[in-house]
């Protein structure tokens, strides 16, 4: 049997390749030229400094929502609520950005912290319900998503504005925007958030792999009975895991609120950052480094998709189909494992 480490690496790579091949077939059947399609995708994502900047911008929140779901998953929990945690994080960041007057070295960290705390609090609810009453976190987090969506909309309309659908732009002292990064990317919307995202990935790796906190969290995720026997506080660890996961997702909201948009608008539907985060985590095999790569892939696909209609006349829906296919192949990694093992056997 090939080593597990190689497998964890090989499976997502093969999944992506198979997804791309399947996408090419679909393009071909639909009467488009796959080579044109993919080269437009490439140009759209990496064609020039501007698109590279935009790809990076898109990747930052994906990294954070991916980390959120991966972190929870590593400790035995399904955080389907990253979406709602993003929204409350976004709102909290914008709120602090709008209402507080302080120098940047206080204002910006405070706004970022507010986003993390809001996301953490939002995840605390499913955490405590799971820990104390055994309510399944999937149900609660899904419901919390809707509560977040409608609550944030209402707060934007009634509290942050008087009946408007978009808040004012946050104070410059709370903005993540980076003139320097913008100047080297032809004034894309890229911002310092990517550094926060990468730092968060390093934090997740450190907590999970190197600390007693991660040791306890994973242990509780694997086996609650043995964890209790070993003297760990199972309830505390479940709540802590959800809160940390929520904080990562909340930070993703800060990316949007303090970086990309500088404001928040009333929306009819979800941002999908949290839901796409599930796919990112899955593709990244729930590891910090894997999530970073998967998030960049997602960012590139989503950004490049914009070029496909203009560059090759292919509808953006097709790009969504390709992404869906990639996820499909990752999710069916068992099949891919089986294929690889078969292939190796015959090669012998």
């Amino acid at each position: 049997m090939p080593s597990n480490r190689l497998f964890t690496l090989l499976v997502p790579v093969v999944s992506v390749v198979m997804g791309l091949i399947a996408g090419a077939i679909i393009m071909h059947i639909s009467g488009f030229n796959p080579i044109d399609g993919y080269s437009a995708l490439w140009t759209g994502a990496f064609g020039d400094a501007y698109t590279i900047g935009e790809t990076i911008r898109r990747s930052a929140p994906y990294i954070l929502t991916g980390l959120s779901i991966a972190f929870a998953f590593r400790t035995g929990l399904f955080n389907i609520g990253a979406e709602g945690q993003v929204l409350v994080g976004w709102l909290a960041a914008v709120w602090v950005g709008l209402t507080i007057d302080a120098p940047m070295y206080i204002h910006l960290p405070l706004a970022i912290l507010a986003a993390a705390v809001a996301g953490g609090l939002w995840a605390f609810v499913p955490g405590i319900l799971k820990a104390k009453l055994g309510v399944h976190e999937v149900i609660v987090t899904i419901m919390m998503n809707y509560i977040a969506l409608f609550t944030t909309n209402e707060i934007i309309r009634k509290v942050l504005t008087s009946g408007q659908t978009t808040t004012d732009t946050i104070a410059g002292s709370a903005s993540l925007a980076s003139e320097w990064m913008q100047s080297i990317t032809f004034y894309s919307r890229v911002h310092y958030g990517i550094l926060i995202a990468l730092f968060a990935a390093a934090i997740m790796w450190f907590i999970i792999q190197r600390t007693t906190i991660g040791y306890e969290l994973k242990s509780v995720g694997f086996n609650q009975h043995a964890s209790r026997y070993a003297g760990m506080n199972v309830s505390k660890n479940i709540i802590l895991s959800m809160v940390i996961a929520g904080m990562f997702a909340g930070l993703a909201g800060a990316m949007e609120g303090l970086g990309t948009y500088g404001n928040m608008s009333v929306t009819a539907g979800f941002s999908n950052l949290g839901f796409d985060g599930i796919a990112v985590a899955l593709l990244g095999a729930n590891t910090a480094i894997g999530v970073v790569f998967a998030a960049f892939l997602f960012g590139a696909l989503k950004e490049g998709a914009g070029e496909m209609p203009t560059g090759a006349g292919i509808p953006t829906e097709l790009v969504d189909i390709i992404i869906a296919l990639i996820i499909f192949f990752v999710a069916s990694s068992y099949i891919i494992r089986w294929v690889i093992v078969r292939f190796k056997k015959e090669g012998k």
């Binding site: 049997m1 190197r210 600390t211 007693t212 906190i213 040791y215 306890e216 994973k218 242990s219 694997f222 086996n223 009975h225 043995a226 964890s227 209790r228 026997y229 070993a230 003297g231 760990m232």
Partner: protein, 512 residues
């Protein structure tokens, strides 16, 4: 000579390990044939080859003299080979009938399941072999022993001529074991043949005709049970002399370590299971708690270790009150616990052996500092335990799940003993293990006693209680009903005490 099944010179390799090396086993029509070997010797692999789950690299399988190629379990079924798994493969909310017909349901012309026919067939088979199974009972409502009989019925319903029993007695009570033996005999009478996978020598002596021994993947040979004895079988299996009677000096009990006064504990259903129990345990002695499962033993241990709260009463360790303290507090005040269910409580199976070794000490120096783990210290400690306690594992990085039961248990015992607790609670420490491992574990317990530790041994195996304990406390209905010395009692007397009979002081024969 007519053989129903022959497995000739079977060799099965896994990467880096030869699980079966040139093993031959020949099953005669109408015999009970034991397959004996230590944990990890390759018994299960061999049977999985026969059952079509693995393909052998070498060797051949013959059924009634004809060479066959079994590539999947369906072929094995068609050839009349049935397996009674150690871990039952039953759907809990389904009835007995539904479970048995699952996968080969009799249907009416319309395609609807013919439940009546299924029930009748099952009742008939059940009656013929004395299985006493209620076809309409739900699996979740019936005892473990009956669940096993459902597994047997399942194979018979599918027309099995050869039944493979994979360590069937591991989960059974002594009474259920006797019943199973009866069932096996009646199966033979009806012309079936049986392969019994086991490492329990007593069972082999009692019920088997012949016995094939494998050791570390190699076939050692086949013996007639009538011409051998447990000692010979044990040494064939382990490859050296085995001592059943553990050597030990007279105990020298010193100061009191554990005092339990009027302890009352409720179980999960809020029923009193420990009902005003008193017990005292001194340094340098092993007290064995004898009793039938379900008389409050598990609740007693859980109360001492802080896993379950006591309703009333007092538990004192070295004169300090530890009643209703958290598991961590109890551990830190000097209690080691070898849990009854090692998969549920003893190990995080998805953690490496190294990570499991520090399950209770990870937050202390040198294993971590300022909440940062020191993996070097952790794996050094694991290496030490592995060496001292002869835990056979490819490395300290191997997941606990990948180890055999005996090696998992040795790792737990190493972990608990190495912390040098004043009180060591050993709950069924040798359950499911082979004689070699049992001998090792008993020796370790006695070593700890000689170092002046207090040891509380809970076991459902009277042999073990008689053999290892210095004092035997019999537990019945939530109380200690008798306190006897092993050399002054007999298994018979203990059995009666465990069943709740009263014995007059000083007269073991006068049973009321």
């Amino acid at each position: 000579m007519e053989y129903v099944i022959e497995m000739l010179n079977i060799r099965k390799e896994f990467p880096g390990i030869v699980a079966n090396d040139n093993i031959t086993i020949q099953l005669k029509q109408g015999e009970i044939h034991a397959l004996l070997g230590e944990n990890g010797a390759g018994k299960s692999t061999l049977m999985n080859v026969l059952f079509g789950l693995y393909q052998p690299e070498q060797g051949e399988i013959r059924v009634k003299g004809k060479k066959v190629n079994i590539t999947n379990p369906n072929i094995a079924n068609d050839l009349g080979i049935g397996m009674v798994h150690q871990h039952f493969m039953l759907v809990e909310p389904f009835t007995v009938t539904q479970n048995i017909v699952l996968g080969s349901e009799p249907t009416k012309k319309t395609g609807v399941i013919n439940v009546e026919k299924a029930r009748k067939d099952i009742q008939e088979i059940s009656d013929r072999y004395g299985l006493k199974v209620d076809p309409d009972a739900k699996i979740s409502d019936i005892s473990v022993g009956m669940q096993q009989r459902v597994e047997i019925l399942k194979t018979l319903y599918r027309g099995a001529e050869v039944l493979i029993f994979d360590e069937p007695t591991a989960v059974l009570t002594p009474q259920e074991i006797n019943e199973l033996m009866e069932i096996m005999r009646s199966l033979i009478k009806e012309g079936k043949s049986i392969i019994l996978i086991t490492h329990k020598l007593k069972e082999i002596m009692e019920v088997c005709d012949r016995c094939t021994v494998i050791r570390k993947g190699k076939g050692i040979g086949t013996v007639n049970v009538a011409e051998t004895n447990t000692n010979e079988l044990a040494s064939l299996m382990v490859g050296r002399e085995v001592h059943f009677k553990t050597e030990k000096k007279q105990a020298e009990p010193k100061e009191t370590v554990l005092t339990i006064e009027n302890l009352v504990v409720k179980d999960a259903r809020k029923v009193d299971l420990v009902k005003g129990l008193n017990l005292e345990l001194r340094a340098g002695e092993i007290v064995g708690i004898a009793g039938v499962d379900g008389n409050g033993q598990s609740e007693l241990i859980e109360a001492i270790t802080g896993l379950r709260s006591a309703v009333s009463g007092k538990i004192k360790l070295n004169n300090k009150n530890i009643t209703n303290k958290s598991p961590r507090k109890v551990t830190e005040s000097g209690v080691g616990h070898i849990p009854q269910d090692r998969h549920r409580f003893g190990l995080v199976l998805d953690y490496s052996i190294g990570e499991n070794i520090v399950l209770q000490t990870y937050y202390k120096k040198p294993y971590s500092k300022a909440k940062v783990l020191n993996y070097k210290a952790i794996y050094d400690q694991a290496q030490k335990i592995i060496k001292e306690y002869d835990v056979r594992t490819p490395s300290v990085y191997t997941k606990a799940r990948a180890l055999s039961g005996g090696n998992q248990q040795k790792a737990i015992i190493g972990r608990e003993v190495d912390r040098s607790p004043d009180l060591l609670i050993a709950a069924q420490p040798t359950r499911g293990l082979d004689v070699g491992a049992i001998e090792f574990i008993h020796k370790k317990l006695i070593e700890e006693r000689d170092k002046g530790k207090a040891i509380l041994l809970i076991s459902f195996e009277l042999d073990e209680i008689m053999n290892v304990s210095d004092r035997i406390a019999v537990m019945f209905d939530g109380k200690i009903v008798a306190d006897v010395k092993p050399e002054e009692t007999s298994e018979q007397e203990l059995g009666l005490l465990m069943a709740g009979s009263q014995v007059k002081e000083g007269d073991p024969n006068a049973i009321q």
